[in-house]
Assembly symmetry: D2
């Protein structure tokens, strides 16, 4: 089987670099095209990124030699690749327009960006949670008169540290009514240069602009349903989020207290549900799917960012410290890798699901 040629828009930025790194030796996809701002266009990728390669592994050689295209040159992208991962860094309105234009020009977009998260017919994917949301693609095309293109996005990284665990409980017949949670988020979530070291040595930042709102609203769409060619939120769950930045490189941790809407499982049932949970990516054996989407750690002081973020290719959620909540029903700690599971890796998994479902044929 020959590999599907993919492009990475915004390939010189930090998320773009993650896409490039994670797609090295991918069994289905190969990075055939990289694009960025006009400033980088025309230069070899290695040169355009020189001194700004933030990954701990060296750059894949095949990509190093690619000549960077201009992200606004859709015609070129169309020639070079079958679909694109988008991590362009522009103002939100410009991103929204550019991504739609790619789709209109028959180039599907799997976007890491936020502008289309609330576009009513654009699915916001966590493949283990809402794989059926891809069913909106035909309606999306119809709504907009697109033929081969479409648009798929991923949610904010912070909620990915716990939402799959909540979904597993719902799927097992235990709908959740209320959640109060506090995150301790890694600095890589702010990009580079991101947070000043002066703000995080012997310190924490108890505020991340816009993050709490995203953590509280995006799950409602992800857990929602398709109706009349667009998404309807699940408003039956209420979430309150406190978001903090801490001196951790990668890995967002969440301390979650949760009240069930209806009946309440025992702690042992909860652990069993999490441990046995498998989603569509597991059923389809997608290349980037973790074998077990949720890993329960029995140690009293886990999960921890440095020890657990890389679980199963950094794609698994690690959960621990499940116990009764004195106010709600249960509480626990959950953690996932924000720039892999929560960003580029999650996008790649969505693309794998798209391909498995025939949308990239």
């Amino acid at each position: 089987m020959s590999k599907i040629r993919v492009g990475v828009l915004g390939a010189t930025g930090m998320v773009g670099q993650q896409f490039v790194r994670l797609l090295r030796d991918h069994p289905w996809f190969e990075v055939a095209y990289v694009a960025a701002s006009p400033r980088s266009a025309g230069r070899k990728y290695a040169d355009a990124v020189a001194g700004r390669w933030h990954m701990e592994e060296d750059m894949p050689e095949a990509v190093a030699d690619l000549v960077v295209g201009d992200a606004s040159d859709i015609a070129r992208a169309k020639k070079e690749c079958r679909f694109v991962f988008s991590a362009v860094e522009m103002d939100k309105k410009a991103i929204a327009e550019l991504e739609a234009e790619y789709a209109a020009n028959d180039v599907p977009v799997v976007s890491n960006n936020s502008p289309h998260r609330w576009t009513p017919d654009v699915p916001m994917m966590i493949p283990e949670v809402n794989p059926d949301h891809l069913d909106i693609v035909p309606a999306q095309r119809k709504n907009r008169g697109w033929k081969k293109g479409f648009l798929v996005v991923k949610p904010n990284c912070s909620l990915q540290s716990y939402l799959t665990a909540v979904h597993a409980l719902r799927a097992a017949g235990y709908p959740v009514g209320k959640m109060i949670l506090t995150t301790l988020q890694a600095v890589s979530g702010a990009g580079y240069p991101g947070n000043a070291s002066l703000d995080l040595i012997d310190n924490i930042l108890p505020f991340i602009g816009g993050e709490e709102e995203k953590s509280e609203r995006e799950p409602l769409k992800i857990l929602g349903r398709i109706e009349g060619g667009q998404f309807v939120n699940d408003e039956s769950i209420r979430i309150s989020a406190h978001c903090n930045r801490v001196a951790v490189v990668d890995g967002h941790t969440a301390c979650v207290s949760l009240a069930f809407a209806d009946k309440k499982p025992s702690l042992d049932e909860v652990k069993k549900i999490w441990t046995e949970f498998r989603g569509v990516p597991q059923a389809l054996d997608l290349p980037s799917a973790p074998a077990r989407p949720i890993v329960y750690r029995e140690e009293p002081n886990r999960p921890q960012p440095r020890k657990d973020r890389d679980a199963d290719k950094a794609m698994a959620l690690s959960v621990g410290r499940l116990r009764e909540c004195l106010v709600f029903d249960i509480r626990f700690v959950a953690l996932s890798h924000n720039t892999v599971r929560g960003a580029a890796g999650g996008g790649i998994l969505s693309a794998e699901l798209l391909r498995a479902k025939g949308y990239l044929d």
Copy 2:
């Protein structure tokens, strides 16, 4: 006025050092006696602590020259000082017995230790919150046949980062019914050597043994009342705490969501209540009392440990980010200095209150 002679038990340990540091130039008290384990006894304080002085300021010279006593030698302490601050490090049972024996021998004890926190007739003090709990001293003496001695303790440091803010709301007529909170606690709370740096570089620890239970139970006694010569908990409030250790030297931060039991103030009223709150220590103008017990920060990203822990001699609580909670009523971030306000400084403030109320005459 000549100063009251005080002793510090466990003076060579980290909290003992804080007592020594904070009592330098105290207007009412002077450190006249230091005691520790037999291993240190008989040596000059400076020598006993050599290489283990953890304060950022140098040791007060007057104390450096004191000869360390044996903490078990109560007769000597009785000769040397009027009362003692206790920060001895022994097993819990031994501490409980030793402190009671000091009190039985006419040496009042203001203890930083936990063993007597749940002794029914021992007050667990936050002077701005429950100054009237000192009224139990006569009953305590009577219960035990003590004459001049008595026993007073301070609560766990973690709850001190937010309980005064909760008390101020209650005192203004807004009782609190439920709280879910997450702490990000400084490593100094674990003493020295305490947490391994391997555990806190590029990492957080989502667990502190026993801390959540203390954070959930101790407020009930502090907010309780005296009845029949002992304390009765206020069981009208339910608290659920998630406690984390982070790479911060000093300063515990808490992210708090709170539901009122009854009527609910506006956000502006809450700020007004906090800003205007003054307690008995302020009314009495006690030397270690912060001018304003609660400092409200309007900046969107405050309080922060490094910037706010030292507010008003490290004795004020800093609060910020007050906003509606999507699940409960309000949420906010609160912070205080764990080894000053939450430990030695809090003990000194209690002693000042004791003296102002005539218990140290």
Copy 3:
């Protein structure tokens, strides 16, 4: 005595804030004027700095209410103050011209900036090391036709962690011939936002642009002499510096190996020389002068940034670990506070020396 009115150019930046903080309650000087870029001009200082006040203490109230001037408006500065501290942030050429113009207009400038460090008739001051370099002021005025104005600068912060210790040895009759040293420098030296936290969590940066060259060259001028109205370097000493950035907020540490040019003191003599060293600022009892410019720590693991940077108002050098060098003669560790001693505090000490010598009458 009424205080001398001073201005702070670049008052909204990080070093400017340090000047404002350190001049609170200064016995000789009062901040009567603050100036910054046109963007800040016309606003109250508190408003211009809102959300960007990086000091751990709150802003002095008297300064908070000052209306910020435009740093390029020299006429206004001349009316408002007797002299200025300059911490303006512009390109180097613009700074050089602006500072010279202030001096030409009778407003003396004590600058924290680097552009005039190598101007042949501008003294680069460490008041304990080269107080006599102020003797160039008459020649400087004559060279340039200035009347009341003049220009004085301070050297790079990194060399201030050890140069006074080297000078003390020279002054005691032990000239130094060669030094190889490695610095571990604090992030505050890079300003705000400065170093990205992604670069300093679980990491060090083994490079600081331009820092090694400054560390190697500036001492030659500081240790040099005045000849014919300008400075002549002392080329008898050779220095090789390795400069690193580490995850420390404040306090530059240097590991120094040193060979004497000529005769060699014993280790005990070296300690004695350092401990007894006093400079002109001490003789004149200048307000910001540390009582002992060099504090020798006998503990085997000192000096350390967090414990020693604040020694004597953060103006003293802390030195420790003196021992034989297996290649050169001696080696030791030296440390000073980079943003106080090495920046604003050093500038204030220079101004105090200028006033004591009558240059600000």
Copy 4:
């Protein structure tokens, strides 16, 4: 080919865990036996290490099920395995005796410990630097009347960050005469719990007990020669080391200034020598040998611990910032992974060399 059965003494400690981790799927060796103190003996390895597994990857399942032996039970070890890696944690004298007794009982020992480093007939190996030192094994056996057993050790981790680079220059005909260097060492080098986080948040420790002496002396033996059945130091090189502990998890960095003893290569020649250097492990294509022992980084701010410690299975040395030294001849920054290259990985590479040379047949 069936794998050689190996044992790990001290398998429950941190270095022991590294051996276990690194030997997972080793092509030549399999961990057939683990031993530790009597306290752990008799329990399954997974249970003995429960809650103290410090590796970021999960424990290999095959080892998890092994029953831990008592490290002092040599007879058992002899039955279980062909040779042992020793990382026992006991007092130095006891380690020295135990390791010798293993060897005397026909069980070769490749030790990570220090007690035998200065035993005259025991080779202290860096396989790329002194592979010929294994030639002493016959003499060692003869000296002691051992038959199949022998004893091989590895040097201190800190010097491994730069000594291969020095050796490469010597091997190319440029002997080195003098070196002054400063290390910035990772906390994993101190084991667990090791350094207190209170010592390394917003701080560095400018002292590591015994480390400077090891860094200065051990290279003389490693670079020495065999004469009359024992090692003779190379005393032609003089080294002065300043050793610091910094807040880095893994990866020791060294800033090195170096004077050649004789003729001096150009900077370009030095880079060429390093880049082209290959040792015996490369020639033999040993499984753990890095393809290039020395990786030269051209970026101005590399090597950095977090980005470069894992180069080539964490077995390669990363070097950068080569430039003229103003006092000696050249200076540069060098870095290696202290617990892999500098400890367990280095031990495994030595064992591979031993096997390749027939000593484990």
